[in-house]
């Protein structure tokens, strides 16, 4: 425990003075003049854990070797042995805690403020979910435990599958994919298997130009060619363009509905007809499911394959970039190709894993998927129930429309008009074009200036077809007071910019670091700590 070690005991006090300081307290910040407010976080130079500690310090105490020790090479011949161990940090437990607690304070997070990041559904993460996921019966369950002795886990998965099936309106579910884009890959590979099984080899997949980047990237990875479909003036799929491109080379159309403009495509049934008409499948990117739970179902719209983002609609915490989970639901005709194993329920009500699925595309990863995420999302579904999920979607849409209305006020709408549509679903996209032209600040500047006010900015510069796009998704777990404060802050920043655009252009000011040089980072990549 104690970070005092032999080395220190006898070291000359000066000897370690070249060592980087230990965390928040380690450095003597430049003395700031009286009356000037220094942000303590800005005064701390970023120091990695590899720059801390001292030889011999440690946290882990290895259990004694309680078995006979032979000549080491008996166990492992010298030539297989590492000459020098990995140069991991040498720090005591208190140093580890302080280091990571310290750098955690350099993160903004959902528990600290509004996070209207469009397309990401940053809804509140109830702590109950962490509690239940940590129960040893879930957290310390080995994935290769005999199914007979993991019936609780299998039942949970079964129930979750059932709920996702009901919500999507599609009868078959696989929980295996690890995130949304992994679900997409599964889905497109299913499409491939479906066509191949029918003896067809189709090589194109359609995606609208509003599609998220993972859609075309997935298409390529699954060995298809991307064909873009245009967006019409209302923000929906351009039906004429679709008709023109939908031929029998097309394996699939990937769509999200509402789409990334936050708009529900009113022609969805017609779209499905066209796609099915040429024998292709219709894929639903479920990233925007939070708009329609209990209100409208992809299966009923004609989709064949859906992926869910449990880390969006079903509140698995994002963890700063994962973990996520991307289950898929499919129609009967796609079901034979689902990844193995498939969870089945026996006559006696017990659950089993079926590996004997000759048409399956195979596995997409090890074991059963991100079970820990299933636990959390299942807890969420149990908490809300059917009506609660519908309430959540309704409130998400209400909040988005309310915030949109507040941003259509005088002083904002002139600079940040709604890109398409009138009402919206759970999110909306503004264009910063007029702002850029008239106030001479870009969407990026507005975003960075928001940081000074304790708001996470909306998604910026996506979707690509909107100039200087600002994509706002408030979610249902925000209060009206927060929405009002956000709208007021946007208005205030625009007013400020009309006085002096330099302020926004120089923002942020109060964050632990200010604007960072991304070009430098990419030009001369330094992607690990240099070690002495």
């Amino acid at each position: 425990m104690s970070p005092i070690d032999e080395n220190h005991l006898h070291a000359d006090p000066g000897i370690e003075s070249h060592h980087p300081s230990s965390g928040a307290n380690g450095s003597v910040p430049a003395l700031v003049a009286a009356g000037v407010r220094a942000s303590p976080l800005q005064l701390q130079a970023a120091t990695t854990i590899f720059q801390k500690g001292a030889p011999g310090r440690r946290a882990f105490i290895c259990p004694d070797v309680d078995v006979p020790v032979l000549d080491a090479s008996e166990f492992l011949p010298e030539r297989f042995r590492r000459s020098e161990g990995p140069r991991l940090p040498e720090v005591s437990e208190p140093e580890i805690v302080r280091h990571y607690v310290g750098i955690s304070k350099r993160n903004f997070d959902l528990d600290s403020g509004f996070y209207p990041l469009g397309s990401c559904t940053m809804k509140h993460n109830p702590r109950l979910h962490e509690r239940v996921a940590a129960l040893p019966g879930h957290a310390r369950l080995h994935p290769l435990q005999d199914p007979e002795r993991a019936q609780g886990a299998l039942e949970l998965m079964w129930n979750l599958q059932g709920a996702l099936s009901e919500i999507s309106g599609l009868p078959h579910v696989s929980l295996q994919p690890s995130a949304g884009s992994h679900g997409e890959l599964a889905g497109v590979l299913l499409t491939r298997a479906y066509h191949e099984d029918r003896g067809e080899s189709r090589h194109k997949v359609l995606t609208p130009d509003t599609a998220h980047g993972t859609n075309p990237a997935t298409v390529t990875m699954a060995g298809f060619e991307v064909v873009k479909v245009a967006t019409n003036e209302n923000g929906g799929v351009d039906i004429e363009d679709l008709r023109a491109k939908a031929d029998t080379d097309v394996a699939c159309l990937m769509l999200t509905n509402p789409n990334t403009l936050g708009l529900f495509d009113p022609n969805i049934s017609q779209i499905a007809e066209i796609v099915h008409g040429v024998g292709a499948t219709l894929y639903y990117d479920g990233a925007n499911l939070n708009a329609v739970m209990g209100l409208s179902r992809p299966g009923d719209m004609g989709f064949d394959i859906v992926h869910f983002n449990l880390h969006k609609s079903f509140t698995q915490p994002h963890g700063g970039g994962g973990p996520g989970s991307g289950p898929i639901a499919v129609s009967d005709r796609v079901a034979p190709y689902l990844p193995v194993p498939v969870l089945t329920r026996r006559e006696d009500g017990t659950f089993a894993l079926d590996h004997d699925r000759p048409k399956s595309i195979g596995r997409l990863r090890g074991f059963h998927g991100n079970y820990g995420c299933f636990v959390r999302s299942y807890a969420y579904i149990c908490s809300l129930g059917g009506d609660g999920l519908k309430d959540a979607s309704e409130a998400a849409v209400l909040n988005a429309n309310y915030l949109l209305a507040r941003l259509r006020q005088h002083g904002v709408a002139e600079y940040l008009p709604l890109a398409y549509g009138d009402l919206c679903m759970h999110e909306f996209v503004l264009s910063g074009g007029p702002m850029k032209r008239e106030l001479e600040i870009k969407t990026l500047d507005l975003a960075k200036r928001l940081l000074d006010f304790g708001f996470h900015p909306p998604t910026v510069y996506f979707p690509l077809l909107v100039e200087e796009a600002l994509m706002v998704e408030p979610t249902e777990t925000e209060t009206k007071e927060t929405l009002d404060a956000f709208a007021d802050t946007i208005a205030a920043i625009l007013r400020e910019a009309s006085d002096d655009p330099e302020i926004a252009r120089g923002a942020p000011y109060s964050t632990p670091v200010r604007r960072l040089d991304e070009v430098l980072a990419a030009k001369q990549p330094v992607i690990r700590q240099a070690l002495g």
């Binding site: 078995v67 996070y115 990041l117 994935p143 039942e155 690890s178 995130a179 993972t214 149990c382 059917g386």
Partner: protein, 447 residues
């Protein structure tokens, strides 16, 4: 709020947007919502119906291991500041997460002795598939050659994804428990995109990684990919020292819970030349306008949100929080600790193997050195023997044939050792297994 929006009812918002034909005109058929205490009870009751490694003496492994997760990791993972943010798209307010990625990358580079690492991929088997895709992008050759000593899930995952882009997968058999060097050299040629093996392999054996790499390079120009166990790298020659180009693996042993198989993380390290073909996020160092050190997501032109159909991967959300656990765990182990842990596992695994292989009806599957896991061949039905052990509160390991489906794996039991399994635990396993094998032998002999 409705007045501000300019509608008379919430319903109107939907009526004006969703065509009646695709509206769900009924309530979802799901149970009613429950209060927090009731949900807790329900999930607790489900958990109670699982036999976890807390409930029995478990020697299960085969990719995921019951190492001790230090309590400080729970604390860090539960801090709102790490738990609840999105991917760090706004670096000025995400320095915490970005620095963690940077430190994580450093730790993975150290572990693997390779110069570049990304910030995580999903998990082990799909990490191998991702490495295969990197090879495909790199050389556009037509075939993956893989050792049959890889985890069955890995081979299956690789086949699934390779089929998408039309790549062949050729398996090289084992000999004496390790990849047959002759077959390996024969299988690899100029059309080989990647040559892939596991270290240690699925049956616990230490492969001669340097020889496999050299042979592969000698026989063609494939990208040499190794799937490695990260804990073993405390004592085992690192991939970077063995001529490996890309080292990937399952990160669960590094401070992540078992969680019935996920979420954990996959690590992904490579030689410098593959940097711009790496999948996923990479954090890089830079400075802010005032010259302060800072971190950003870098080399994003590889990624789907910029490059779309030309991206090096479709991965978006990966496993940041699990990677945090990984680097915190490696820090907790420390420079000395990871070596000590490796030596402890070596000694205990050796002891366990010798002890169990000395039992009647039990023999080693191979004589190769092992580090943390080993395969035995049992004289009897593995499932039945395992059931007998379970009755004594012991889970003796993985029934390999049940996992792989391979005929040649009949009778094979895979036994994993961690620092949580003491000598006394191993002795108990030995007693229980001996009795179970004997009983099964008796039972199967016709009276």
């Amino acid at each position: 709020m409705l007045a501000a929006i300019g509608v008379d009812s919430l319903q109107e918002i939907f009526d004006r947007q969703i065509p009646p034909a695709v509206r769900l005109g009924r309530a979802l058929e799901l149970p009613d919502g429950l209060g927090e205490a009731d949900v807790y009870e329900h999930l607790r009751a489900l958990a109670a119906r699982n036999t976890s490694t807390e409930d029995e003496l478990s020697f299960l492994g085969a990719g995921m291991y019951d190492h001790y997760v230090p309590a400080l990791i729970d604390m860090l993972m539960e801090r709102s500041e790490f738990l609840t943010p999105y991917t760090p798209y706004q670096p000025e307010i995400s320095q915490g997460g970005l620095q963690v990625m940077f430190e994580y990358q450093t730790a993975i580079c150290e572990l693997t002795a390779l110069p570049v690492s990304n910030a995580s991929v999903y998990e082990g088997p799909s990490a191998v598939a991702a490495a295969g895709y990197l090879a495909k992008l790199h050389n556009q050759a037509s075939r993956f050659v893989v050792s049959a000593g890889m985890h069955p899930h890995t081979i299956q995952t690789l086949r699934t994804t390779a089929h998408g882009y039309g790549m062949d997968v050729l398996e090289v058999p084992l000999r004496d428990g390790v990849t047959d060097p002759d077959a390996w050299a024969r299988a690899i040629d100029g059309n080989t995109s990647a040559a892939i093996f596991a270290q240690p392999n699925f049956y616990g054996a230490v492969e001669d990684a340097a020889a496999l790499s050299a042979a592969a390079k000698g026989a063609g120009n494939p990208v040499v990919i190794a799937q490695v166990d990260p804990i073993a790298l405390g004592v085992l020659k690192a991939p970077g020292e063995c001529g490996v180009d890309v080292a990937v693996g399952e990160g669960q042993p590094l401070g992540n819970r078992l969680d019935f198989g996920g979420p954990s993380f996959g690590f992904f390290a490579a030689r410098e030349e593959y940097l711009r073909r790496m999948p996923g996020r990479i954090a890089g160092e830079t400075v802010d306008v005032d010259g302060r050190r800072g971190f950003v997501l870098t080399l994003q032109t590889r990624e789907q949100h910029i490059r779309r159909e030309k991206a090096t991967s479709n991965i978006c959300t990966s496993q940041a929080l699990n990677a945090l656990a990984g680097v915190a765990y490696l820090t907790w182990l420390g420079r000395r600790g990871i070596v000590e842990l490796g030596e402890l596992l070596l000694a205990r695994t050796h002891y366990a193997r010798e002890r169990l292989a000395g039992l009647p009806g039990v023999e080693k599957l191979h004589e190769q050195p092992v580090i943390r896991e080993f395969a035995l061949r049992l004289d009897g039905n593995v499932a039945a023997i395992r059931r007998r052990c379970a009755e004594q509160g012991v889970n003796p390991g993985v029934d390999v044939q049940a996992l792989s489906g391979r005929e040649e794996d009949r009778g094979v039991l895979l036994v994993a050792i961690t620092e949580r399994r003491s000598r006394a635990d191993i002795d108990r396993l030995s007693d229980v297994l001996a009795a179970a094998v004997a009983a099964e032998t008796d039972a199967s002999v016709p009276a």
